[in-house]
Amino acid sequence: MNFWVNSLSAGIELGTPLAYAALGELIAERAGVMNLGVEGMMLMGAVVGFIVTLGTHSAVAGFAAAIAAGAALASLHALMTIGLRVNQIVMGLTLTILGGGLSAYIGTGSSGRRPEVNISAIPIPGLSSIPVLGKVLFTHDVFAYAVPFIALAIWLLLYRSKFGLWLRATGEQPGAADASGVPVFLIRYLAVIAGGGFAGLAGAYFSVVYTRGWAEGMTNGRGWIAIALVIFGSWNPIVVLIGALLFGFVDGLNFQFQSIGVPVSTHLLAMMPYVFTLVVLVATWTRTRHRHVGMPEALGLPYEREAR
């Protein structure tokens, strides 16, 4: 029993940063821009958030700086892919390399240090003492509590606001949106930059909250998982959140298995979330599913007003 409670609780903890990164990528993709540079943006967020937190002793300042760092890297992607119409896949990969190098450079000498601030779990009085459920759901930090509301807010933004209508039109049919007077380019820039902000936040969560330390390449491929989660969640913020938590849970099983001494290689256990996500994707995907779900029709395609 305790094993499952711990696993589920760890799942929320591990899934939270993934959810932030994936929700950011979802916003960009809904506007039609694929950004494969999530890993690089997360690393930048992680290192900048960490150093600023160290220097200012303020997690708020740290996270603000991390969001700005992710957004700054994303604006390079936006400039190249929206402004100059560079291939989005290639630019995204480049962004990952750039973010990896920049973060390692900035972080030289910061590894081994520990921020004094501690964003600890805040058990919610009353609710956290509910047996089982209390420990699983109500003993987390503020980021974990916030994430369902953020996913819901993004859903409302997409489907219940004018901006969301414009954003979806931009990702579906930029030509139609443009002809209707929607500022297509502006929306794509905003969406990509906002996506970068989310990735930066997710990165800082790793360095400031989760491991409370900086190491080169510390996000360890989580950025790529965030991208897969967007597809997994068929571009729906709520499903993306559920997918992130599910992934976090499977990821967390690794530690739980180790702690109870299951005699399986840690590497094979670490493989589980990847295998699990792939299997679920394959099992639930059908040839026509992406038509019914939200895959934006213009995803990956640059928009040119005068193209003929």
């Binding site: 390399i97 750039l98 990896g100 390692a104 790529w224």
Partner: protein, 365 residues
């Protein structure tokens, strides 16, 4: 007078521009890199001199560059080949590793094979391993239309963790004490050198693969049908071509090339299966294929130049400039090259615009 600035599609750039723009782009990347180094308190001139000496400016450097170019050429070819059928193979990393795993397996368990037979068996195993790993990724795409980028990408992580499991576990070197490598391979599992040089014959194999891939894709009727399928699936369908089968076969070929890269790195460079046998070769291959504009023979040149850049960055580290800076310079050069591509496709026009000036004056903008 109001001036408006806009991008306009260019109708074919001149040859002079095609040559000048990439050179300017690399210069721009290096200049920005110099700025970053100067910020960090390093002397860029000295650093770049070291880079040049370490990569192309000395016999030793040239040798290292050629050795480094080999895997990059192969992963670049893997990506460019897959692009012929319209697939993005982002899984070169994993296919390379599975190729290396398969080759190591043969090397460790078929030690009895005499002389060059062992080496040949290992290379064939590497090719088969990479091909299998890629073909698995093609199947969901063909059967249910699941995006191959995601599948190939995920399979990279699975391959890396599987390798870790082997080198920390059953294949680990008992003398390594926690270091991440396998037991050493027998002596006859080492690639011979090109006579008179310190470069292993993997380089020759890679160039042969480039010519072979070019021949298969550009000069056989089957390759022609693959290009039709990749260029426009609806037209291929109309011509009665089986696109799915071609996708699986081409991705398997693509994976085989990456797997060969793994076997070559293993037998030519590391001699053990070890963590870091691939230093992002798979991802770099995507960039190389793109910089070569997808041309198979162009990949040979692009891989060589990229290798020079990478090897040059290693030389930087020995002179005290941090390794991350080398990575940053690489990324910056690519960014500038991509922007240069855009400069070739579009032109910036500044134009005085009377109507707009009036609109501005009239307060309507």
């Amino acid at each position: 007078m109001a001036i408006s600035l806009r991008l306009e599609r260019r109708m074919g750039a001149s040859l002079a521009m095609r040559i000048a723009v990439p050179i300017l782009a690399v210069a721009g990347g290096l200049a920005t890199g110099a700025f970053v180094m100067a910020l960090g308190g390093h002397d860029p001139v000295e650093a770049y001199n070291d880079m040049w000496q370490g990569s192309l400016g000395s016999a030793e450097g040239l040798q290292s560059t050629l050795i480094k170019a080999t895997p990059l050429m192969l992963t670049g070819l893997a990506v460019a080949t897959a692009l012929r059928v319209g697939l993005w193979n982002i899984g070169g990393e994993g296919q390379l590793i599975v190729g290396a795993i398969a080759a190591t397996g043969v090397g460790l368990y078929a030690k009895a094979l005499p002389g060059p037979a062992l080496l040949i068996a290992m290379i064939l195993a590497g090719i088969a391993g990479g091909a299998m790993w890629a073909a698995i990724a093609a199947i969901p795409r063909v059967l249910i239309g699941l995006n191959e980028i995601i599948v190939t990408l995920f399979m990279n992580y699975i391959a890396i963790l599987f390798m870790d499991n082997l080198i920390f576990g059953p294949w680990g070197d008992p003398k390594a004490f926690g270091f991440a490598y396998s037991r050493a391979l027998p002596d006859n599992a080492t690639l011979p050198l090109i006579p008179g040089t310190g470069v292993h014959i993997g380089l020759v194999l890679a160039v042969l693969v480039a010519v072979g891939a070019w021949w298969l894709m550009e000069r056989t009727p089957w390759g022609f049908s693959v290009r039709v399928s990749g260029g426009n699936p609806r037209t291929a369908e109309y011509l009665g071509l089986r696109i799915g089968r071609r996708m699986v076969i081409v991705l398997a070929i693509s994976g085989a090339i990456a797997g060969l890269a793994g076997a070559i790195e293993l037998t030519g460079v590391t001699n053990r299966l070890q963590e870091g046998i691939s230093v992002n070769y798979g991802y770099t291959g995507v960039l190389i294929a793109f910089l070569a504009r997808g041309r198979l023979l162009g990949v040979v040149v692009a891989a060589f130049l990229f290798a020079a850049l990478v090897v040059g960055s290693y030389a930087l580290q020995t002179t005290g400039v941090a390794q991350p800076i080398a990575t940053i310079i690489q990324a910056l050069i690519i960014v500038f090259l991509l922007a240069g591509d855009a400069a070739l496709a579009f032109r910036l026009r500044f134009m005085p615009n009377p109507a707009m000036a009036e609109a501005v004056a009239g307060g309507r903008l």
